[in-house]
Amino acid sequence: MGILTLTGNYAVAWAVKRARVQVVAAYPITPQTTIVEKISQMVENGEMNAKLIRVESEHSALAATFGAAIGGARAFTATASHGLLYMHEVLWWTAGARVPVVMAVVTRAIGPPWNIWTDHSDIMDQRDTGWIISMAEDNQEAFDLTLQAFRITEDNDVNLPMIVGLDAFILSHTYAPVDVLEQEDVDKWLPPRKQLYVIDPENRYSMGNIAYPKDYMLMRYDIERAMERAKKIIEKVDREYGEYFGRSYGGLIECYKCSDAKYLVALMGAWAGDAKEAVDKLRENGYNVGVMRVRFIRPLAVEKILEYASGKKGVLVMDRSISFGSAGPLFIEVSSILSMNGKPPAMKGVLAGIGGVDVGYRDIMDIISKFVDEVEERGWFVKRQEWFFSHKR
């Protein structure tokens, strides 16, 4: 197939086809719709051998996907924003039952006021559900991450569902070159789904029965242990993918020009590309900075964040959503980890790009250089929130 010009959504649809997904259940919502539209077209054309289930809501979409998965099928769904919130209960159900499922979330702001553009409020709202949660930086990574997601979730050391996140419009509806791997190569890398048990009319198990407190707590402990193991599996799958297909992304976290940097900026999603551009330009102006791109908010790379930030003078965190009454979710996470260090770096949480506000590399250059100048002038400080509203032409 080679390289095609695809939107982020079409890249995801192609990866779902390449993964030989057997069941897809979804409900349309902007800006996700074109993923399932494309899949439905592929099924209709006979290019893809999958069962498409039309449902009346997102709650049912994930419930149907869950049902297919416990029946042993490789299953996929996709949603965004209000659709994801409506699904929230079933997210807990899927993770609690330890059923591998892959879901694409095209991150979009939550209303009111109504807004269809990107921010990370919807995906951040799922942090406690027991799902593995990732964000892609570009269309190619959306493709690669979707394929990797099946290997990660279906690993018997994990058995947890996973979200592949991609920013609304700036990835989902933007055309860019994507290397769509050959089917036979993907088949060699991604074997058919195997799970420890399958529920069908001949194999009757009970699932989701009542568990008394001690058992319940043990099962929660098991999820946490699986999350811990998932860290290693994510790193391994990304490494093996690189060996096989020539592309890998650094596992849980990608560090761009981190090792010799005095300052780091941490962020997730598509604007990490703009941040890399900003860092390259700032380095020309004598600012010694690097980018710590968090690819997985769950499981969080606690050890790696500590390692990468060790000895740095300052760490700036950029959030595209807010936990009202506290700070940006990524700032909360990163600052709590860095505070484990005896000598934490200066830290600032910047809130920007919320509700799709355009943030370009020039804006990020301003945000980073301001932080660096402040630390150089004032010395160590922590600022939990700084709102960035305006942007340059």
Binding site: T5, D274, Y361
Partner: protein, 183 residues
């Protein structure tokens, strides 16, 4: 080489498809590209925007294009209702679909091509609308100067198979040859 392009069209004229095919053509030249619409509510006939970036290196940025190197206008009547020159870099290029030279104030390189006539001659018409995206694509490649007509034709034929691909390729070729700089 790094070029940012903004296309002004009307909903249904295929501005987004033109931007997308330009990226595919650039891909065939060993270059990188990115194409995207303005992310709002699109309606048939209303002014719409599409954007493209073409580069020698992989494109990492995802922000809006506010200072384009080139502006493409699918419908000259848009000059009266939209500030099509907004943010255009000094010395930037303007390509307009027009049967005759048009006057633009400022230090720009202005080009024109009669894409509507080319589309009508080839009967590229749907519901009374001349389909001008492929002739405009051919003219864009010529004005950019670093994308060959062969790659444009290949991109068109990747998108439309059979006779439709052939006719659109001819439309692009005609525009590639007939686009003129206003001096």
């Amino acid at each position: 080489m790094f070029v940012e392009i903004r296309i002004h069209g009307r909903g249904g004229q295929g501005a987004v498809t033109a931007a997308n095919l330009l990226v595919t053509a650039a891909l065939f030249e060993g270059k990188y590209g990115q194409a995207f619409p303005f992310f709002g509510a699109e309606r048939r006939g209303a002014p719409v925007l599409a954007f493209a970036r073409i580069s020698d290196k992989p494109i990492r940025i995802h922000s809006e294009i506010k200072e384009p190197d080139m502006v493409v206008v699918f419908d000259p009547s848009l000059f009266e209702i939209v500030d099509v020159l907004a943010g255009l870099k000094p010395g930037g290029k303007i390509l307009v679909n027009s049967p005759e030279p048009i006057e633009v104030k400022g230090s720009y390189e202005v080009y024109y091509v009669d894409a509507t006539r080319i589309a009508l001659e080839l009967k590229l018409v749907v519901a009374g609308w001349a389909l001008i995206n492929t002739p405009m694509l051919g003219a864009m490649a010529k004005v950019l100067g670093n994308i060959s007509i062969d790659s444009v034709v290949k991109a068109i034929k990747t998108n439309w198979s059979g006779k439709l691909g052939e006719i659109n390729a001819v439309a692009a070729e005609r525009a590639f040859k007939s686009v003129r700089k206003i001096t």
